[in-house]
């Protein structure tokens, strides 16, 4: 077949119908796709508890030891220093989200996943962690060790 040397321009009405049909089709596809995309996003989970939690009892930890406690949905690390004082930090490594642990032999905080080290103030001192661990405030209330988020000044 030989190509038409003088192609007729498409009538405007046909062009209009193409736009309407194509647009309608696209619109209907979008209306199928949108619910699916929304379905893929999980609904938000309510954050448990507020800014304060009882992390443990006073007699529970020996000096130079530590435990993991639940701070809402996230793990926290409660450390009892050698002098008997307490400190609390977020236990989620700032590198790739593993849970850190207290190393009584080093008196430092260690992440086993990629060998990250933090000092007792939560400062990242070696290995891949890019940021310090968030530090919390610790109060003693009777027998309870209470941990709370630091108030922004």
């Amino acid at each position: 077949m030989v190509a038409d040397p003088n192609p007729q321009p498409k009538p405007a009405r046909r062009r209009m119908i193409e736009i309407l049909l194509g647009g309608g089709l696209l619109g209907s596809f979008a209306s199928f796709l949108y619910p699916v995309l929304r379905y893929l996003v999980p609904p938000p989970v309510a954050e448990l508890s507020g800014d304060q939690v009882i992390a443990g009892k006073t007699g529970e930890l020996k000096p130079n030891s530590a435990k993991i406690f639940r701070f809402g949905n996230r793990p926290g690390l409660l450390i009892r220093n050698s002098d008997g004082s307490y400190r609390a930090l977020s236990a989620t490594c700032t590198h790739l989200g593993c849970i850190v642990q207290y190393r009584s032999d080093l008196q430092e905080i260690w992440c086993a996943c990629h060998n990250g080290l933090y000092d007792l103030n939560g400062r990242n001192i070696s290995g891949p962690p890019p940021r310090p661990l968030e530090a919390y405030e610790v109060h003693l209330r009777g027998d309870d060790v209470v941990v709370s988020r630091k108030r922004e000044a």
Binding site: I68, H95, C98, I99, C113, P128, P130
Partner: protein, 359 residues
Amino acid sequence: MFAALRDWIDERFDWAALTAPLRKKTVPAHDLSYWYFLGGITLFLFGIQVCTGILLLLYYRPSANEAFESVQYIVTRVQFGWLVRSIHSWAANLMIFTAFCHMFSVLFLGAYRKPRELTWITGMLLLFLAMGFGFSGYLLPWNTLAFFATKVGTEITGQVPIMGHALKVFLRGGEDVTGATLTRFFGFHVALLPGLTVLLLLTHLALVQYFGMSVPPAVEARWKASPSEARQIKFFPNFFLRELMAWYIALGVLGALAAILPWELGTKADPFAPAPAGIRPEWYFMFMFQTLKKIPAKVWFADGDVLGILAFGVAGILWLLLPFFEQAGGRRGRRLVLGAGIFALSYILAMTIYAYMAK
């Protein structure tokens, strides 16, 4: 019996026409022919995965409260459950290994060259899917090792610029690795990935069938110089029987490994326990793992991890498009591709060995 069946089919579908491709297909015979077996062995191991996977589905329960216990039940109470589970784990690892060997043999023997670019691309996509199978399947027993490997792996996707966070939430089914993650990974592992794999696998095999087996450049040159040396063997039954022999050996190795070194289950994951010492991903992710471990927190002004992840992403895409660089590179193209292949292989080997030595 067989003759009667063949006649029945012949009356309806023309047996001779149906089996013509099988009778016509030949395989080049030369001193490097052994490398042709690797793809077939990988296919065979995939078949094993489908069968043992279906068996495991009879008892496995995909929830955070029950997953570990159900796998424990499979390996302790169900008759030969330990064997089925062990074979599934071992075959998964062997399959990734043979797929890697297949990929490098295709690279070094030049089988990706024009006109087989699409065969290379479908093969690479299949390898990515296989790694996806490995990553999602690793979590399913819900043990400590898998829990943290998944945390790290999904956190890494979260570091991809712009859409990383959305991707992470999509994979995890929330902000954290929880039972919701397990449910999603289970769905990926037994429905999404198998579906995609079957489609791609059929395409890959159809392409292999369409183009026939590639002859390595060195052999091709030799055959061109003296055409009388060129040899082909029939695919059926000659090559097919040899391939069966290779499958039988693979099955033997697999059975021995699964029985002598049953795959460990470990301890149940606890989202509120520290990561244990010696935590690490499966061996085929080790070179990336070690790289991320060694990269400094800050490189120049960027986060070291983001840089590492981006580098692996870019390398993966370039690797996928490797056949096209050869054409673009003209006469130096082949050398470029070979160089990249040797570099990639040495990097992967060196980093993997380093990772295991350094722990």
